[in-house]
């Protein structure tokens, strides 16, 4: 039984990867069977990811070594091998990619009714993205972080370019590919510096050796490359400009998945900062860099959203803005952690990190919901411009309610989930510096204003002849929206349960560098 549990992370990676390749063959036989196959596999993958999360929370780290016996001192003579090391933070972050890929598969059953060409490849790429995302969250190895980053990025680039008959997806995909390639190459260069310095690639092993030798120039150089590259992939300002291009042009279910792909890079940034460098570096400086990036990201994101004229570009800028909250929460936590005595963290720092991490999950849920509602609008009207839409609440009441739930959550209105995580960030950031909270609250007000604009221009207004009788979206699309709307409401109504059960263990795991090192050595 224990051996099987240790293999669960591997199953979460291999299951969608192998099934993704099989999808192409199944799709040649029957579209209906393929759709059920894809959603079933991604549903099972999500269940495995949830099982891993609760197993890690209950019994601690899961480690699994591929192609070699379990780690022994002798095994470290050959320091290059694939090691999966899942702590509560890694298990937590995999939830987002598991949930969004599963719901994207369900939503896609009918979303491409108009043009079903290439759907086998689409589903295969979606499953490979899920596999890459799970691998990124579960690996304990720097080189494999790069590998899974590449797998996720390349498959996602294919998905961005998929809907080639609408908009300019080729250009969007090209930009995403260039950004991904540059950040991945620079990340790899950083990994090379680390490998040359420590003759190891395992994060725990490198952290241990870094503690022995001290923090050198090459480590600083590698850290700079890691931070800038992962921040660009996460969409931090001023490296955010690819996000509206990519999210805006890609099909709506993939926009939802792209949100969690960006969150994976954010996780990579946190993993490198806390588990690899941890107390070796000047964490106060890094913490303030993350805080400042967070403030810029949330403010410029929302200001640019206000002037957008197409529904998905507007939502894409909001995705950038919300990333700022996550950066702010975890940045405040890092400053607090490094300002206190070694190994201890002031209570406000711990809570800021909990707020930032809770916001990651909440954002994946409500932003996913908003992208799906935008997809529903485009599916029914074939219109993206806010100027040409209106009065859809009469025809699409379900989508309207789903949109209102998502909009209220992203604007931080109580009692939805966005409010719960934002209030933790506001109050804990206030203790570090009240200015941080003032900016964060202003951004929330502007977010609300922006979504009032969308609601007014898309769903309200006098009856339009051209949309009369278009009706609601098919049940599979409704089911995906219903799932996310339910989670938005439930996480908002019972925030303490979610925070205590999965968020606090994730925050504690991220802070506990010794625990992460001890899991492998």
């Amino acid at each position: 039984m224990i051996e099987f549990i240790q293999k669960l992370p591997l199953i979460a990676i291999l299951l969608p990867l192998i099934a993704g390749l099989a999808t192409i063959l199944i799709g040649k036989y029957s579209e209906k069977i393929r759709n059920i196959w894809v959603s079933s596999i991604l549903g099972i993958t999500l269940l495995v990811i949830v099982a891993i999360l609760f197993e890690v929370i209950r019994n601690g780290l899961i480690t699994y070594t591929l192609g070699a016996p379990q780690t022994t001192p002798e095994a470290w003579d050959v320091p290059v091998r694939i090691i999966l090391e899942v702590d509560a933070m890694g298990a937590f972050i995999a939830l987002g990619i598991g949930l969004t890929t599963f719901l994207a598969s369900l939503y896609s059953w009918r979303f491409f009714d108009e043009d079903r060409l290439g759907m086998n490849t689409y589903y295969a790429l979606l499953m490979i993205t899920a596999a890459g995302g799970a691998g990124f969250a579960y690996t304990g190895d720097l080189f494999n972080l790069f590998v899974f980053l590449e797998i996720t990025s390349i498959s996602a680039a294919g998905l961005v370019a998929f809907w080639s008959k609408k908009g300019t997806p080729y250009e969007a995909s090209f930009k995403f590919l260039v950004i991904s390639a540059v950040s991945a190459m620079m990340f790899l260069m950083g990994v090379g510096f680390i490998y040359g310095q420590y003759n190891a690639l395992n994060i725990g092993m490198v952290a241990e050796r870094m503690m022995e030798t001290g923090f050198g120039t090459l480590d600083q150089l590698a850290l700079g490359l890691f931070v800038a590259s992962l921040a660009m992939k996460a969409g931090a300002v001023p490296m955010h400009m690819w996000i509206p291009d990519a999210y805006g042009e890609t099909p709506a279910p993939i926009s939802m998945v792209m949100v969690t792909i960006s969150q994976l890079s954010l996780y990579g940034l946190f993993r490198v900062s806390f588990s690899l460098y941890g107390f070796n570096l000047d964490g106060v400086a890094l913490g303030w860099i993350i805080v400042i990036l967070g403030l810029l990201t949330m403010f410029i994101g929302v200001m640019m959203a206000i002037i957008q004229k197409t529904i998905k570009r507007l939502m894409a800028y909001h995705a950038i803005s919300q990333t700022g909250y996550m950066l702010l929460g975890v940045g405040v936590g890092l400053v607090a952690l490094m300002s206190g005595d070694a190994g201890s963290i002031p209570i406000y720092g711990q809570q800021a990190m909990e707020g930032g991490i809770f916001h990651i999950l909440n954002h994946a849920i409500y932003k996913g919901l908003l992208f799906l509602t935008a997809g529903a609008v485009i599916y029914k009207t074939n219109v993206r411009s806010l100027d040409d839409l209106g009065s859809l609440a009469r025809e699409m009441p379900f989508t309207t309610v789903a949109f209102v739930v998502g909009a209220a959550a992203i604007a931080g209105l109580p009692p939805f989930n966005g409010f719960a995580s934002k209030i933790i960030i506001y109050q804990s950031a206030y203790i570090l510096n009240p200015f941080l909270t003032a900016v964060a609250m202003l951004v929330s007000v502007l977010t609300l204003a922006s979504f009032v604009k969308v609601f007014q221009s898309v769903f309200l207004g006098p009856k339009k002849e051209e949309i009369e009788g278009i009706g609601e979206v098919p049940p599979s699309m409704k089911a995906a929206m219903f799932g996310l709307a339910s989670l938005t409401i439930l996480f908002g109504l019972f925030p303490d349960l979610v925070v205590e059960t999965i968020v606090v263990p994730a925050a504690e795991a991220l802070i506990d560098q010794q625990g992460y090192i001890g899991g492998i050595l």
């Binding site: 090209f174 930009k175 260039v178 950004i179 540059v182 950040s183 600083q220 150089l221 700079g224 800038a228 921040a231 660009m232 001023p238 490296m239 400009m241 291009d245 400086a285 890094l286 410029i300 200001m303 640019m304 206000i306 002037i307 004229k309 406000y348 809570q351 800021a352 707020g355 411009s385 806010l386 100027d387 040409d388 839409l389 209106g390 009065s391 109580p414 009692p415 719960a420 209030i423 933790i424 506001y426 109050q427 804990s428 203790i431 204003a449 604009k453 007014q456 221009s457 898309v458 309200l460 207004g461 006098p462 908002g492 109504l493 019972f494 925030p495 303490d496 349960l497 925070v499 205590e500």
Partner: protein
């Protein structure tokens, strides 16, 4: 287990309990309804009169929808200088995206390496 659903969230400087919020919201709704019901029962919408649009004739209902592009016109005009800079930054050219990356990389390296 059920009790844990209704636990209060500690938020750093205070507390948050959505169930208490919903109860308070419900109480405010009831008070609002009581005030509403205390109003004149014979009111009709015709008593409200016609809207005054600076002396201009009222636009027909079908043509009165304000499109998304027109909303917050005043705010955007007021922040014209800010938006001019922002629009210049957002060129849509991939080369510029990479230049921004290099700018951030250099700044971050300067900070970490203490140059």
């Amino acid at each position: 287990m059920i009790e844990s659903l209704f636990e209060t969230l500690v938020t750093g400087g205070g507390y948050w309990n959505p169930i208490v919020f919903i109860i308070a919201f419900g109480i405010v709704d009831v008070i609002t309804l009581i005030i509403y019901r205390a109003g004149e029962g014979d009111y009709t919408s015709e008593l409200g009169g016609k809207p005054f649009l600076s002396g201009n004739p009222e636009i027909s209902k079908e043509n009165s929808h304000i499109a998304g592009g027109n909303l917050y016109w005043g705010l955007v005009e007021g922040l014209d200088e800010f938006y001019t800079v922002m629009k210049k930054m957002h060129t849509g050219i991939i080369n510029d995206y990479i230049i921004w990356y290099l700018v951030v990389l250099v700044i971050v390296l300067f900070i970490f390496m203490g140059v």
